[in-house]
């Protein structure tokens, strides 16, 4: 928690309404997201109970499992959900664009748009991850056959759950996290997991302040929980009798009536959260996107395209657990993404950059001197090395020789030459510039900051981070368990016990 964010929380508490902690939107928002509000059966291992799904506020479709302990009904539900999710995914597989790779010597294709899944909270992401895990190894043949769409759904849900771990990805978002990324509420992080309470702070109903609205949202009799866990009182008093009525129905007519009653009570629990999800979407849509959001969304589109091709080419389901090398590669990728995401948000948003200014990683000053024509001819070849002097009132914590960057000119490096504290609490910093000025010995206009320009300088760099080198799986060092005993083939023979997670699970 940065001091700036903590201060915003204190201000939110004092003001009785959430306070902004971002000036732009740091995530991509699809014009047609697939909103999923899932409910799970208490006590069971991620047994789906119901879901409300749709791509528009008035387009909610309710799916329920009348007896969640029944295995066939669970997979029937998964097949129905696949009937919503898979066509939605396919609708983004129309138009591709060419992307030059390998310095323009080759080209690859990616879809011009990609799907986006929205769930209420991080527990909703976990629900989808586990639903993906419980379905992706199922088979349409063998002992417990399921509909062919079920394992496909499982692989896609697993794909989205893995993207959700990728910092800066917008493929699968938890609404509570998306909102608290942009606004600080006057409550703790624990309480921020409750979507109704977060929206209570963001947009309190007339006559209530944020704290009152949030407290009201905590009463499950007024405001049902946003799932996937249900309210125990609802379970005991409403759901249990309704499930029993379905189970014990003597004939088809009674069963249909019991099913309709189950639908009614479950819709009652889900509908308020559905409304909140779209209010959240509306709040996010009102923010203009940051400059680098589009680039990160391109990464999501790449990942979507790659996974679609993997599935098309008959690739196997994701393994239960990554091997040593795959795990290291994945961790490395996530770390790079995290670093880059933090830098990009700061570059896009002065309010985020302010957090770095407070910790001494950045400062803002005014250019007081500029020598845009300076050429360094001490080397073999003369090179253009303009110098500027920046005066700042902020503390400068960077040493001489450090390289700084400016969000206004991300391709340009500024090496600190002198740091001179002035008498009036201000500091003069002389910087030598390189890069981002063309190839000649004179800088094109606008590439060198001019006298009078306000400039933010930071140690944060948005430069490309090269990927690390990792051994092939068959060369896994002994420190990491040595080479795996099996070859991670793309598709094990049908029926053969596969080492990456076999579906030999007897179901209750």
């Amino acid at each position: 928690m940065s001091t700036l964010r903590a201060l915003a929380k204190a201000q939110a508490l004092a003001a009785g309404v959430a306070q902004p902690v971002a000036t732009v939107r740091h995530l991509h928002l699809s014009p047609r997201p697939l909103v999923l509000v899932p409910l799970a059966m208490a006590g069971e291992a991620n047994a789906p109970l119901a879901v409300l799904a749709g791509t528009a506020p008035d387009g909610a479709r309710l799916l329920i499992v009348p007896q969640p302990r029944n295995r066939d009904q669970r997979f029937g539900f998964a097949a129905e959900l696949a009937g919503i999710v898979l066509p939605y995914l396919d609708s983004f597989r129309g138009v591709s664009e060419a992307v030059p790779v390998d310095r323009g010597r080759d080209v690859r294709y990616r879809y011009v748009d990609a799907p986006q899944l929205l769930v209420p909270n991080p527990a909703g992401v976990t629900f989808l991850r586990l639903l993906g895990r419980s379905t992706r190894f199922r088979r349409p043949d063998g002992e417990y056959p399921v509909h062919p769409s079920v394992p496909l759904l499982g692989r896609w849900l697993t794909f989205f759950a893995e993207r959700a771990e990728h910092p800066g990805s917008s493929a699968l978002l938890a609404m509570t996290e998306a909102l608290t990324l942009h606004w600080a509420t006057g409550q703790s992080a624990v309480e921020d997991l409750h979507l109704p309470a977060v929206l209570g702070w963001l947009d309190p109903p007339p006559g209530l302040d944020g704290a009152q609205a949030a407290a009201r949202a905590e009463d499950p009799s007024i405001c049902p929980p946003a799932g996937p866990a249900t309210d125990p009182d609802f379970d005991n008093q409403v759901l249990a009798p309704a499930v029993a009525a379905y189970d014990e129905a003597p004939d088809d007519a009674a069963r249909l009536a019991a099913y309709a009653e189950l639908e009614r009570v479950l819709r009652g629990q889900l509908a308020p959260t559905w409304e909140l999800m779209w209010r959240g979407v509306g709040l996010l849509a009102a923010l203009s996107p940051g400059a680098r959001v589009e680039g990160r969304w391109a990464g999501d589109r790449d990942a979507f395209t790659a996974h679609a091709e993997h599935v098309d080419s008959g690739g196997g389901p994701q393994p239960r657990r990554d091997g040593a090398v795959a795990a290291a590669v994945r961790l490395h990728r996530l770390e790079r993404a995290l670093t880059s995401y933090a830098v990009q948000r700061a570059y896009d948003d002065p309010l985020v950059m302010a957090e770095h200014r407070l910790t001494g990683e950045a400062f803002v000053g005014e250019v007081t001197l500029a020598d845009p024509k300076r050429v360094d001819d001490t080397g073999k070849r003369p090179v253009l090395r303009p110098r500027i002097q920046v005066v700042t009132a902020e503390p400068v914590a960077v040493p001489v020789g450090a390289t700084l960057y400016s969000p206004a000119r991300p391709a340009q490096k500024a090496k600190v030459v002198f740091v001179t504290p002035g008498g009036d609490g201000k500091t003069e910093v002389v910087l030598e510039l390189s890069g981002g000025m063309g190839r000649g010995l004179s800088a094109p206009p606008g590439t060198v900051p001019e006298v009078g320009e306000r400039l933010c300088l930071t140690t944060l760099s948005d430069a490309y981070l090269p990927a690390g080198a990792f051994p092939a799986p068959e060369d896994t060092p002994w420190t990491h368990g040595g080479p795996p005993a099996y070859a991670p083939g793309p598709d094990p023979e049908p029926g053969a016990p596969s080492s990456d997670g076999d579906p030999v699970e007897a179901w209750a």
């Binding site: 928690m1 940065s2 001091t3 700036l4 964010r5 903590a6 201060l7 915003a8 929380k9 204190a10 201000q11 508490l13 004092a14 902004p20 000036t23 059966m41 208490a42 006590g43 069971e44 291992a45 991620n46 586990l130 895990r133 419980s134 006057g186 409550q187 703790s188 992080a189 624990v190 309480e191 704290a211 905590e218 499950p220 249900t230 309210d231 125990p232 009182d233 379970d235 005991n236 759901l239 249990a240 239960r320 657990r321 002065p350 309010l351 950059m353 302010a354 200014r357 407070l358 950045a362 803002v364 969000p407 306000r454 933010c456 997670g501 699970e505 007897a506 179901w507 209750a508």
Partner: protein, 368 residues
């Protein structure tokens, strides 16, 4: 009745002390610095009733689906005299069970608790390992005891396995799943501390009978459903750390007189008293509210309401990021420069002022 017992009885009013169980004892370790909770728990106050009376009802309902599933899974695991359970536990401990185990059901008994407790004691002590070649012994729902704040608390572990790997093992059957070798960390943590309570009680029982308490392993066996099916899988959880925490908190509660010395005379938590008076009384004993209390303590909503102007109510990271300043109003005054702050706060004040200035600049649209 000693004066301490007298005092505690006055605090809880004219009702018998609420009995602890392993779950409530485990919850005691959650926020050991909270004096309010220590006093109420020592006195055995009916906290759910108290919370409801003062207008801040606790929300710790349990779904009957969850209870039903838990019971069904336990029954399934223990079927056939625990044959499958023995195999699972022995395999996890890496030993040969060496033939079928004896099975002693110490739970199904309608007779009085004291009797059951004595039967459990005799049976468990008789199972102390004496040599090799003895068959393993499984004890279903033995009744153990532990002194908590001068009060004898009865505890009922799911199962105790004796004479496996030459030691006693506490076995807990939980119905949360272990998926691909991983379970919900919060649930595992709760099960670990609860099992530690049983280990402690079993060790005290053996020590009282002249046996080595270390005969009880600090590794407890957790039996959970594997993946999405109902097949059980056993895992070992090392609870040495939990035992230390528990010991410390129980010792602290045993020194209840020190705690009561700080409680004003006439303090009452009698749920039949006037709500306004109860609230006043509670406020006279210091609480240490943190957002984590919401998941553990029945009184948390009241304490949260009381602490709403405190930075700690926003969570410890927020409080620390605000330079450790205790009240929200004070933090904002320091940030606005209206209050120079106390001498020790110079650093926090400078940080908050800088933060407020940067925040205001950025929100006013100053280019970065």
């Amino acid at each position: 009745m000693t004066s301490t017992e007298q005092r505690l009885a006055e605090i809880r009013g004219g009702v018998p002390a609420r009995r602890h169980n392993a779950r409530t004892i485990a919850a005691l370790t959650g926020n050991p610095g909270c004096a309010r909770r220590a006093v109420l728990d020592s006195a055995g106050v009916d906290k759910p009733k108290l919370a409801a009376r003062i207008g801040f009802p606790a929300r710790f309902g349990q779904s009957r689906f969850a209870i039903g599933r838990g019971n069904a899974f336990e029954a399934q695991v223990k079927a056939d005299g625990g044959a499958e359970l023995l195999r699972l536990v022995a395999e996890r401990l890496g030993v040969d069970p060496g033939g079928p185990a004896t099975w002693t059901d110490l739970g199904a008994d309608d007779r009085a608790g004291a009797d059951r407790s004595a039967r459990s004691r005799a049976a468990l002590v008789a199972a102390a390992p004496t040599g090799t070649g003895e068959p393993a012994a499984l004890f279903d729902h033995p009744l153990l005891g532990l002194d908590v704040a001068g009060q004898r608390v009865h505890l009922e572990p799911d199962l105790v396995a004796a004479r496996l790997a030459g030691r006693y093992h506490v076995v807990e059957v939980k119905s949360f799943p272990v998926i691909d070798g991983q379970a919900d960390p919060a649930k595992v943590a709760a099960a670990a501390i609860q099992s530690a309570v049983y280990v402690l009680a079993l060790r005290e029982l053996l020590a009282a009978e002249g046996h080595d308490p270390q005969l009880v392993s600090s590794d407890v066996v957790l039996v959970c459903p594997r993946d999405f099916a109902n097949q059980p899988v056993a895992s070992l959880v090392d609870v040495r750390k939990q035992l230390l925490v528990l010991r410390r908190q129980l010792d602290r509660m045993a020194r209840i007189d020190d705690l009561l010395a700080r409680v004003p005379a006439g303090f009452t938590a009698d749920p039949s008293a006037d709500p306004a008076e109860l609230r006043r009384a509670l406020e006279s004993v210091e609480a240490r509210y943190a957002p984590e209390c919401l998941a553990a303590c029945e009184l948390a909503y009241f304490c949260r309401h009381e602490a709403r102007a405190q930075t700690a109510a926003l969570g410890r990271p927020v409080r620390e990021a605000l330079g450790g300043v205790a009240s929200v109003a004070e933090a904002l005054a320091l940030a606005a420069g209206e209050d120079p702050g106390e001498p020790g706060q110079a650093e926090a004040a400078a940080l908050l002022r800088a933060a407020a200035r940067l925040r205001a600049d950025a929100l006013a649209g100053q280019p970065a």
